[in-house]
């Protein structure tokens, strides 16, 4: 099965896409190419199933989560200690969405977030399949690619494992083909991804999904990064 997925991905992932070369990412963003990727997991929670081939158009995504300093440029009432200027801004979904719109961008869909984090080959973590403490942002004070080993995702994104969770644009709904019922599915909870410094290793897997009321983050540290659509040439 693994060989099948790999062959399929190589075929899909290398299909020609002439527009992407024409697009240089804006500063602070990276390009994620159009095409298929392996999404979901067969070992994680039931809501990560089925493992599937999903597709996205090409898009740009922020290399880092939006920092306190960046968020305060949008919302001058947003206060934070001076020592935390580079920390990821912890905000509600509406705040994140408003910032993204203000910046001329939008929040990533779940598909986009997962592809940016794991590339096309179905890896468990942004850097590969092996867990290592030094790869993870365990401290919210230590964001911006400052984990010890500083691993980037295949597309060049940082801090997609640990640190703070990240909002996606999507409501918490079952994947196509998922038959396990959950009363939380629907348009009540938004999906957050990437885990935080306050949960176990499995939650920083690229396929892990977690649901949260969009305006009641309580003690969950949730930040975000933005996506920019690539205009058709």
């Amino acid at each position: 099965m693994k060989i099948f997925y790999t062959a399929l991905i190589i075929l899909i992932g290398t299909s020609p896409n002439f527009s992407q070369d024409l697009n240089e990412p804006p500063e602070g963003m990276v390009l994620v190419a159009e095409g298929g990727f392996i999404m979901g997991s067969k070992y994680g929670d039931h809501d990560e199933k089925p493992k599937q081939i999903a597709y996205t158009k090409a898009f740009f995504i922020d290399k880092y989560e939006i920092s306190n300093t960046e968020f305060a440029k949008f919302d001058s009432s947003f206060k934070f200690p001076a020592s935390k200027k580079d920390n990821a801004a912890i905000v509600t979904w509406s705040q994140a969405d408003a910032y993204a719109k203000w910046a001329g961008k939008r929040l990533p869909t779940e598909k986009e977030w997962e592809k940016a984090a794991r590339g096309i080959d179905g890896r468990v973590f942004p850097w590969g399949n092996t867990y290592d403490n030094t790869y993870v942002v365990w401290d919210q004070k230590s964001t911006r690619g400052t984990s010890i080993a500083k691993p980037a995702s295949p597309y060049g994104c940082f801090d997609m494992a640990g640190g703070v969770w990240e909002w996606t644009a999507d409501w918490y709904k079952p994947y196509p083909g998922n038959k396990t019922p959950m009363e939380q599915y629907g348009e009540k909870y938004k999906v957050m991804r990437g885990g935080s410094n306050f949960n176990n290793h499995s939650f920083i897997r690229t396929s892990q999904r977690y649901y949260l009321l969009p305006e009641k983050i309580s003690n969950y540290p949730v930040g975000f990064r933005c996506v920019l659509d690539i205009e058709q040439k």
Partner: protein, 407 residues
């Protein structure tokens, strides 16, 4: 109504309410110069008097008026820790005194852990905590995640979900100790039943703690197919060993050996103590390792496995041998090491640290309490932490002859 009568009634109401509030408090604290046994006795009264929530022991108590009409409102996420510590304390105490009053208290604390399962309405699913209330309490909004649920199996109760690996450890450590040295035949059977359902459910879910929604809890990962901390491998092995010992059921022994033979949990657990970088050393994690090793190393008789568990203990000892006694459980680490190795490591400094053990201070604090209209109201009230670890340390030390009764 005459003004005089009205005033008298108001005064009587005031006196009644004041008495109601203060009647719920035990107020006598020891002094720092008291002998250890007196400090323990007084903190024990404070814990049983002020922290008792139908047998569950609360880690944090906020007194009225901030707690509204009850003194037990506080953050409750970790209350299985003091609950299991008091269960172990009274188990050790009963093993020494053979006093049925001590056993009865242990039985009641154990019953509260059963209630933590019953309140969820799902066999083997254990809550972090519960409150007897129809309505959400104010601290649910501000002190922990939104993991509170109204109970369907026990109407009139609310319970906190998202059980974690450290509370999992509290359960097998506390219940295991109770079964070993305190419970009578009836309670041994109840204890075995609880661990059978609780640990059995974890096995059924591929070694994951799963919540009411079927998803793995935030800190509930022991799964061989998912990346997890080395400490979690240790905790899972210890849980299976204890549960096999208590229930006698082969499935727990089979699961133990499957994790070792097929997934090398015995090797993985060796590095559960992170020594470097030094700032990653974590006494909180050490506490879970100490409880796991304490149960596991006494129950395991395979010399090869014991050797690997000893390697883990040695890595901890590298840090513990010079540890500062800033937290009561760090003193317990040293006692556990002595019990497990039979090495005489009790220097005068360490003995003095045990004699100096302390519980908590009652403090005044301002609480920002959410109101129903969405606003917040500042209320000054008093709060207490927990002395359960200190009391457990004392009876553990007495039981193993580390602490002299005259101290």
């Amino acid at each position: 109504m005459h003004n005089k009568l009205r005033l008298s009634l108001i005064f009587l109401c005031f006196v009644f309410v004041t008495l109601q509030i203060w009647a719920q408090k035990v107020n006598e604290f020891p002094s720092k110069t008291d002998p250890l046994h007196k400090k323990v006795a007084l903190f024990d009264r404070l814990m049983l008097g002020n922290h008792w929530n139908e047998g569950a022991i609360m880690q944090h108590v906020i007194f009225p008026p901030a707690g509204l009409d009850r003194p037990i409102v506080g953050s409750q996420a970790d209350c299985l820790d003091p609950t299991s510590e008091m269960l172990a304390a009274y188990s050790h105490k009963y093993a020494l005194t053979k006093d049925n009053k001590d056993r009865e208290i242990a039985n009641q604390i154990f019953e509260a852990i059963l209630k933590l399962e019953k309140v969820t309405g799902v066999s083997g699913l254990v809550a972090r905590s519960f409150n007897k209330t129809d309505e959400p309490l104010w601290h649910e909004e501000v002190m922990w995640y939104h993991e509170w649920h109204g109970s369907t199996s026990m109407p009139g109760y609310r319970w906190l979900g998202d059980l974690s690996a450290d509370k999992f450890t509290s359960i097998f450590y506390g219940v295991g100790t109770f079964w070993e040295i305190c419970a009578d035949a009836e309670y041994k059977k109840k204890a075995a039943g609880l661990l059978d359902r609780f640990i059995g459910r974890v096995i059924d879910n591929n070694f994951k703690l799963t919540d009411l929604d079927g998803k793995m809890t935030l800190w509930g990962n022991f799964c061989p197919d998912l990346p997890h901390q080395q400490l979690n491998s240790l905790e899972m092995l210890a849980a299976l060993k204890v549960t096999h010992r208590i229930t006698g059921k082969e499935r727990f022994n089979a699961a133990y050996h499957m994790l070792i033979d097929r997934y090398q949990y015995d090797d993985h657990q060796i590095n559960s103590k992170i020594l470097f970088p030094e700032e990653w050393r974590n006494v909180g994690d050490d506490y879970h390792a100490a409880r796991s090793l304490y149960m596991l190393m006494r129950y395991e008789d395979d010399p090869n496995l014991l050797n690997k568990y000893r390697m883990n203990l040695n890595r901890h000892w590298y840090d513990w041998k010079d540890i500062e006694f800033t937290w009561e459980s760090t003193i317990w680490f040293v006692m556990v090491y002595q019990v497990l190795t039979d090495e005489d490591i009790m220097t005068e400094d360490k003995k003095q640290a045990i004699k100096d053990m302390w519980g908590f201070e009652r403090r005044k604090k301002e609480f920002n309490i959410p109101q129903k209209d969405g606003s917040f109201k500042k209320i000054t009230s008093e709060e207490e932490g927990t002395a359960a670890a200190m009391i457990r340390n004392y009876w553990f030390g007495r039981y193993y002859g580390i602490i002299d009764e005259k101290w």
